[in-house]
Structure formats: C-alpha cells, structure tokens
Symmetry: D2
Subunit: 335 residues, 4 copies
Amino acid sequence: MLKIAVLGVGRIGKMHAENIAAHPRASLAGVFDVHGPSAKEVSQKLGVKQYESAEAVFASGDVDAVLIATSTPTHADLLEQAIAAGKPVLCEKPIDLSLERVNACAARIAGTSIPIMLGFVRRFDTGHRAVRNAIASGAIGDLHQVIITSRDPGMAPASYIEVSGGIFRDMTIHDFDMARFILGEDVTEVSATGSRLVDPELMAKCADYDTVTVVLKTASGKQCIINNSRRAVYGYDQRVEALGSGGMAISENRPLNGMRLYSEQFTDQAAPLMNFFIERYADAFAAEISAFVDAVEKGAPPEVGFEDGRQALILAEAAMLSISEGRSVNTNEIG
Amino acid sequence: MLKIAVLGVGRIGKMHAENIAAHPRASLAGVFDVHGPSAKEVSQKLGVKQYESAEAVFASGDVDAVLIATSTPTHADLLEQAIAAGKPVLCEKPIDLSLERVNACAARIAGTSIPIMLGFVRRFDTGHRAVRNAIASGAIGDLHQVIITSRDPGMAPASYIEVSGGIFRDMTIHDFDMARFILGEDVTEVSATGSRLVDPELMAKCADYDTVTVVLKTASGKQCIINNSRRAVYGYDQRVEALGSGGMAISENRPLNGMRLYSEQFTDQAAPLMNFFIERYADAFAAEISAFVDAVEKGAPPEVGFEDGRQALILAEAAMLSISEGRSVNTNEIG
Amino acid sequence: MLKIAVLGVGRIGKMHAENIAAHPRASLAGVFDVHGPSAKEVSQKLGVKQYESAEAVFASGDVDAVLIATSTPTHADLLEQAIAAGKPVLCEKPIDLSLERVNACAARIAGTSIPIMLGFVRRFDTGHRAVRNAIASGAIGDLHQVIITSRDPGMAPASYIEVSGGIFRDMTIHDFDMARFILGEDVTEVSATGSRLVDPELMAKCADYDTVTVVLKTASGKQCIINNSRRAVYGYDQRVEALGSGGMAISENRPLNGMRLYSEQFTDQAAPLMNFFIERYADAFAAEISAFVDAVEKGAPPEVGFEDGRQALILAEAAMLSISEGRSVNTNEIG
Amino acid sequence: MLKIAVLGVGRIGKMHAENIAAHPRASLAGVFDVHGPSAKEVSQKLGVKQYESAEAVFASGDVDAVLIATSTPTHADLLEQAIAAGKPVLCEKPIDLSLERVNACAARIAGTSIPIMLGFVRRFDTGHRAVRNAIASGAIGDLHQVIITSRDPGMAPASYIEVSGGIFRDMTIHDFDMARFILGEDVTEVSATGSRLVDPELMAKCADYDTVTVVLKTASGKQCIINNSRRAVYGYDQRVEALGSGGMAISENRPLNGMRLYSEQFTDQAAPLMNFFIERYADAFAAEISAFVDAVEKGAPPEVGFEDGRQALILAEAAMLSISEGRSVNTNEIG
C-alpha cells in the first residue's frame, strides 16, 4: 500500500483524498490545508491524520508520496520541497502561471529520478484514451487533423477569472496537453483567435477572452484545432476528434443518463451533459491515481510529467502572443 | 422501356405514376381511375393517355404491364383480368381482405408464368434490406429473435377503420410480410394480444384494436415480435431489429432532417420522424418499381409475389383467432 | 451512520460491502460467509469484523441492519431470522425459487414494520428511472406499451443453469419487476413463448429455454413485451422503452467508452456494451444502498419491498404455465 | 411552368436537367453542350430540344430562364450573355476563379433586376438550413462559434486539381458561403493554415494544400472554423455546428442507410457516409431549383445571388494570403 498525503483539500483535493482512500493499492496518509477546518472535516470523515503544515507532511516517515492540490501559486514551491524531501509527487496543473517560474523549478529539480506526475486528468478518460489508442494501433492510419472541443458549462466567478492568468492558462491548458497527447508530436506553430461574447465587460476588464480558437501545427504538418467557450448552456462539452488517412475516431460527450425522449415536437432527445469536471472525469480521476501508484511502485517516469506541464504553458504563451500580434507564432519564439 | 399503365391514381397511385415516368427503363403508358377528374389531372400533368376503363387498359397494345392501385375490393378482380390479358402486374397490398377470395384468385391464376408482384414496399427500404442482408451474409450468425416496431403517426379516419378489415389486415399485414422477409422461414405459431387505448370507443365499435403485440414462431424456434400502435405522436415509427448468434442488426428510424439541438434542458434532440409512408418509403417505392421492371424484363418471378400476399393474410387471420381464443394458434389451423 | 453487516461475500456481496463502506451515511459493521476465507479476505481488506455465524450477526448490538447476499436457498430463512432479531433487511433477489416458500415467509413476517427491501437493482438505474419519471411527470402521456429488452452477454455455467429454477426465475425475474415498476399497475395476463436456440442441448436437458418472449397485460390494457436471450455476443443488452399517448421514452444501452470509430467500411462504430451487471449497474447498486439507508433512517417502507419480490415470482410462474399450455394465463390462476 | 434550358450537361448539368423536368412548376426547355453527344443523349432521354449553341438558347423565345453548368472558365461569359438576353440565370459556382474577372462581370451586370442565382446548393440542405433556422428563431440565442467540417471522400483527379485554382477556390468556396449563410454577418478577419498530408507530391507541385483550417471572424467577434480534407475514407463528411448563448445546433452526417450493426467487437456501427455530393445533396439540388423558380416567378432577388459568389471568392483570396504571410488577413485588404 502506497501511503499518499494530500495537500489542499478544497473541492478537488477532497475528491482526490477519497479516491486514494478507496484505492486497492494506496492508502490516505493524511491531509493538510492552510484552512484548518477544511482539513479537519476531511480528516475526520476519512479517519486519517490532519497535518499541521506542509513541512510536517514532507518530514513524516508515514508518508510515501504527496498529492498537491493547493492553490496554484503554491504548486512550484511545494513541488520543490517534496522532491527535496524525496517524496514522489502528483501535482495538480498548472505548475505555475509563469513560464519563468516553471523554468526555474525545472532547473532546481533537474536530474531527479523521483517520480513527478502532472494532473492532466483528461488523458485518463476512457473515451479520449480510446482515440489515442486508435491512432497508436493504426486503426485510423496516419494522423492528419485533430479537433478538440472544450467548453465549460458556465463562467467561473469573476474573482477566479481575475487571477486565473487568462483563458489559455486556466482552461485551454488542458486542451494544449490533450493536443500533445493526441498528436504525439511536438507543436511548432500556434495561431489563435479570441472574442469577448459571453461576458464582454469582464473579459475586457481582465484583458481576457471567453471564446477562443487555437490552431496548432506540427513539423510534419499535422493540425489540431482547439475551440473553447467559457459557457455552453447544455453542459460541459468535451469532445476529441481525430482524422487520419485510414479513418476517424471521436470521443463523444456524456449525458447525465441514458434516457431518450420522443414527443410530437422532437425525437431522440437526451439529457444535458454531465456538469462539471468532477462528475465528467470521475473515472479518469480514479484512473489517474492508479497511474501514479503504478509509476511510484515501478519507480518509472509517470505517463504525464513535469515537462508536459511546461510544454502546455509554452503553447499558452504562444497563443497569447499570436492574438496580440495577429500572426502565427513559432513555439521556438517562446521559452 | 417497359410501358406500364397505372390503375387507380389516388395518393399512392399518383406517386407510382410519377415514379414510373421518372424511371430510366420504364415509361408511363397511361392511367385510369373510376374518378375521371383524378385520372385527368394526372394524365395532363405527366402528359400521358387517360384510359376510359380498366378493360381498355388490358386490351391496349401500348401497355406492357399494369400497376393496380385501386381500392382494395377491386384488387383481386383486376389482377385476374390482367393475367387473363397477359399483362404482368404490380398489385398494391392486400390482394383482398378475405382469405377465401384470395384462395379463389390463386386457383384462377394457378400455373401462370406472367410476373405478379405484390406491393410490400418495405422490403425495398435500404435499412430493412440491410438487416436482411446482414442475416444472409452471416454477419449476425444464426437468427434467433426479431423485433418489428411499426406505429402509425396517427389514427386513420374512422371511415377507413370501419372498412379496413381490422388492424391485422390493414396495418400489421406489412409487418407480417416483413417478418417473413427477415425470418426467411415459415411461421408456424402465432400469439396475439390486443388493447384499445388510443381510441377505445371507435375500436370497440369496430371490434378492432389500436395497440397490438403479435409473437410469431417458426418451426426451428426463431421468434418475431411485432408491436403496433395506431398512433405514435412523434411520427411514423418503423424499426426492424434482428438478434443472431453472432450479433445484432437494427434498421433505425428516420427523422425529418439531420439537425440536432442542444439547450439548457436537453442535448442531441432530433426532428420528428418522417411522416408518413410516402415520405418515409419514398426511395423504397422507387426501388419497388425497379424490381418490378427487372422481373418483367427477365421474365422471372418477382422477389415478392402472390403467395407472399396470401401468407401475410394467413398470419392476420391467425392473429385474430389467437386474440379471440386467448391461445397460441398454429398456422395450419388457417387456410 | 447506519451500521450494516453483509451476509455472503461472493462477487455481489463483496461489491455491496465496498459500497456500504464508501457510503457517506452508512458504515460496514462486519461480514459473514459460510466460506470462511472469503469473509476473511473482505474483512481484512475493508478493516471490519468477520462474524462466525449469521446468528452472531443477528445477535450483535453493533449491527443496525443486514444485507443478505448469500446463496438463494438461504434467503428466506435468513430474512425471517433478521426480522425476528429486529434488523432491517436488504435482501438480494429472489426471496426463494418456490412461491410456496415465499408465501410461507410472507405469513411469518406479516405485520412487521421493520423495513424489508428487495434487491431489484435495476430500479435504481438512472436511465430506467428516467423513463419511469417521464411517465410519472406526464411527459409521455398515458402509458400504452412497454418493451423491455434484456439479454445476457453469455450463458451462465451449466452448473448454475441446472439449479437456477429456469430462465423466468433466474433472469426474467428482473424484467418482471421492471415491468411492474414501469407499468405502475398490476399485471393480469401473461403470455409466454420459449425457444432453445443458444444451447439447445442444455436447455432440453433442463427443460428450460434460452430465448423467450413474454407479453404482459394490465387490467386497463397496457402491454409490456419482455424479450430475453441468454447470449447477446455484443454485450449486456439492457433497454427499456415506453410508448405513451404523448410520446416515447427509451433507456438506451451503455457502451464501454464514448469513442466512435469511422473507416472505409463503416461509420459511428461504438465499443461493445458494458459487461456484466456489476459494471452496467455499478451506479445503481450504490444508489440502492442509499435507498435502503433512507428507508431505515425514516422508518419508512422501502421503495421496493417483499411483496414486489413475491409478485415477480407470480409472473414467472404464470409465464411457465403459459408456455406449457400454449395459452394466455390470468395471474389470478397463480398463487 | 417556367421553361428552363440547361447549358452544360456533364454530371451536374444532367442532374439539374432531370430535376427541372421533374419539377411541378418548371419544364426543361432544352439542353446545350459543347460536347454534342452528351447533349444528344440527355435531350433524347428527357424528350427535349438539343440546342446547337448557347447563343441559340439565349435567342430562343421558348426559353424563360437558363441554368449554367458548363466548365468554370465559361461561367462569367455565359452569365453576361444571359443577362444581356434578359434571361434569369441559375449559375453553378464559382462565377470565375479570378476575382478580377468576377468584379468585371459585376460591373457589366450592375443594376439589372433580372434574377441571378448562384448554385451554392448546401444552403438548401434540410439539416444545414435547420441550423440556420435555429439561429434565426432564437433557439440557440446569440451566435458565438461555428464549426464547419467539410471533407471530400477522396482526391479529385490530378488533372482537375491542377486547374482548380487551389483548395480554397475549388472546395472551401462552398464552406465560405456556408459560413456567411450561418454567421449572418460579414467576415472581417481570415486566418488560414494549410498542410500537405494526403498527397504531398501533387500538392507541392500545384502549390496547393489538401488539409486546411480556416478561422473566420466577424466584426462583432463571432468565430467560424472551417476544416477541410481532400480525403476522408469514411465518406463525404459534411457537418455544420453552431454554438450560441442559449444552446447548440449541429447538422449531422448522413450514412448510406439506417442500419446499425452489433457484434462481439463493436456496437452501433453505421454504414459509410453518402458519397458523393450528388447523392448527399440530392434533395438540396431539387430544392435549389424550387428556390430559383420561386425567385423568377416573384421577380424577387434569389436567396443566394451574384454578390454571395463574389464574397466567397474574397474569402478564398484572403485565406491564400493568410497562409502565404503567416498572419491574420483583414477582408478589406482583398478586392
């Protein structure tokens, strides 16, 4: 049993703690949160220790590994401390909003063989993964074009938007990683378009966008189109489509239930989509823990690592530059 | 070019006349209808001769073959006359509502080599036919169970219901033929259940049913479930499902168009189903003409012949007997 | 927290034990199994007490309620003992294969106000339940016709088939309960058809069937068609369709993942269906525990009770009689 | 009856001629083709006059209107002649490959009130049109983002590619018009990406692309993503998706038939897509003739006119410029 402690038990951290507790080859070693009452509630419900500080976690002999689900600005520091303490890490994305900080972190942890895994949970979705497997197995031939549709069911609160680092860093970041996962090849060119249609005032205030399209291209010419909206009223829209020389694979959306309704006005009506990521990716979050446990047990590099987090951030910066200059940006220009 | 005359140009006959006129290997030789103005309108629109009587059609040297789309009680007489005149016939179903009359007709035309085709148009639907082909090709292994769902979008007028011969002869008759087409084996047992739910008063008055289930069984044990309703508000529901030892094939419904709608309340909503048979089976009606032209050109027995019409009627009688006696009926007990 | 002990920790009992342990308002009070090692394994993994006997469970002050997941022949006895001990019960179906035994059990527990819930898990499936809600809310008007398609992915072992009590009691029993759940009205007539197509030899040896169709009818004329096969190679086929005067609702199947594949030969191909009931009804099994906890907490009769188990068995007996006599059977003739 | 002559009876012209002949309010006034035998064949089959020259058609008092389906380089000349002769015109797209020539043509026909309709047939597809109607009716709120997926089933012959004017003018041109149809607002910015993946050699030789993505933006910020491939092995992929503030509408693909296949390896497999445009848009081509007849009868401007053809060409030129300069292009920079 791998004893994993969870740092940060907000909505996501709490869910991770429960998944660890339920995992057949892992156990929950304890929790910590700067907001004591949150940590207390989770520790009591799951019957585990509440640590008084992150340092105490890193120092504990009862902790084999840590999961970092604290607020974004603390990720890089905690990650560095965990590595210094010799604890394998599963860190929620992003590593940091600043590429400079990420690069500094990379320098500090360079050469470590301690497993570091990034929480790009969508890689563990059975549908998205089946698309990738279809490519890997040759079922759709050579890959030509990818379309990632990723739309939130509704705007995050203004307080979050204001500090999120912008749509490319708070939302598209997942799709940048998905693009890399599906393309299986480095992206060389980035071309982005942004609009303010859902909440023009807030977006203008934050110099941000709520409706964006990003076109990525690899050296061999493979294309990936990412389209995002901060609000799709029909639910959390999460689709991945891959066109190849021999066919196409699409990971479709998931409605709340399997019922279809027919009436005088319509047929085949389904329920709204699962809403939101904790529901939609519930199975993927559990599979992510398994992948982390596997990596630590084998001492192998996790399937999605630190460099994947850094590369996604580079694509986000390239997209921002592309919009501001109205041109295609080469990823070599960044980072 | 096969010169085909159409007898009876009501809604169905008119559609047949247009299909014949548009057919690459057939031409419309003329039309006749006891209601002169109907025949006149069609003859003028399509630029063909209006015959003064059915006899004139049969006597004409300009007519190679006839399509009978007159009222049901005239079918058997006209069919006999056509055969006597040596004209191949495509006759709308049913041959007659009375099995006795059909048997008499069979006796009179016994031994003829003149092609006689019955208008069981659903056999020519690309979806239903693909199900049959999936069985024939072995794609689903040995056939075990068939489900035919067949529901009208709304009640026919009371005036029609009162003389239709009952639901098994006016509506299920198509499904009995489809069952035979899909089963590919004689039906030996019939068990039927009827309810009066759509229009209880009219149904009671006519000693008829508006909601029925019929279970058919062949000698080898293959089962076919037919379910009918005289009113499905979402449109003309026409599905055929076949379960085999190696898989399943389903012919699905067709909505009016390919648009899917998503909103805050629902996802993936399609349009109502095509409504009614002339729209739903438009392609099949055209393919039926082709099959008739093929059969006449080759002098071969048509794919669906007189005996198919008689067998469907036997199943209808068996279903009626099953309901009245509350038991499974062997088809040997009929006809 | 409701402390629930689990009797019988085979495949289903173990799954129930895990669901109880993970439930926010329940805790696992311990387990018992006549096969000691099985109980030991589960007790160790979940960190709970292993009881030495069912009697010890019933006598324990640490047990608030019991879940019976032992072999079928022990259900009725254990249920009676639980009630005698004042423990609320969630009992896996069926209560017993013999209607006589069930009736005796009913007599012994008559008048008890202790909650007894039957494990007809499909009632808790979100799709099937949405169909029922669509009926209850009036979304499809008055109910006319129900079609329940329920096919196992493959034959159970011969050793199971030989003692299962026949397809109506081992498999259709779930569909009989689903029919009652969806119809919302007592069934008065039962008409069944059986074939031996999947494994004719074994079926003949057991005087059983592997492919059956049962048509149920209520006093008001509502119809329900159940079709079963002991082997659908494409997976566990579980569909419920309800036609009403105002529309239709269908609970569709669930494939293993959301990927669709396109190639030169086909389009829109989905994965095989979830296989088998523990996967397909995973959410429903968890919801079932919640419903039981709710009922016990409120002291209210569970949504699905002892009498539901008895009624399903009556329909199974009626179906057997219908096949053997080739006629429609009135449920008054049974029990 | 509107008497329409068809100029050019290759594959498309012949289909138009048949649709006109079958139209209830139009008749085929005759045909002309520079390749005499083609014209002769069609004229004989449909029983209409074969004209000896385009001039003879324009001079004829028996011709009310003309449909131009000749080779692209002749479109503008014939269109000008038709207008000079006072004949309403339905002209296949494009007007010309050269924007200069189109502008010259526009100058020559300026001020005419004679109906001129462009053959952007996809506007008449029931699914695509339903998407537009969903927007117009407010069913999906304010429009935010459009995705047009448009992929040919296979490469056109090299001989065609070499003179086609490039993918934006031979293929995307339809999608540019569809974008304008759906957006309902002028496009101001164009950003394009092109790859050579299907047939890199031929594409390089022609300085063309076989895999392209174009992102369009309107003044108000609405986005439209067009993705094209010259080869989708699963058939002719034609989808239109519109995201709005209140929902989403998608026009889905059409398989060859309605059959779904299930096996041990997969479920819900559909047939390949309709292949190619004459099959896929058969209904739309017929509806296009109706729209033309309507416009001429009412003397009203057709729904899709000369300027629509010119605007689509401007977008094609903008896309080419965008690729060559690796930047977003403002439509004001063109034409």
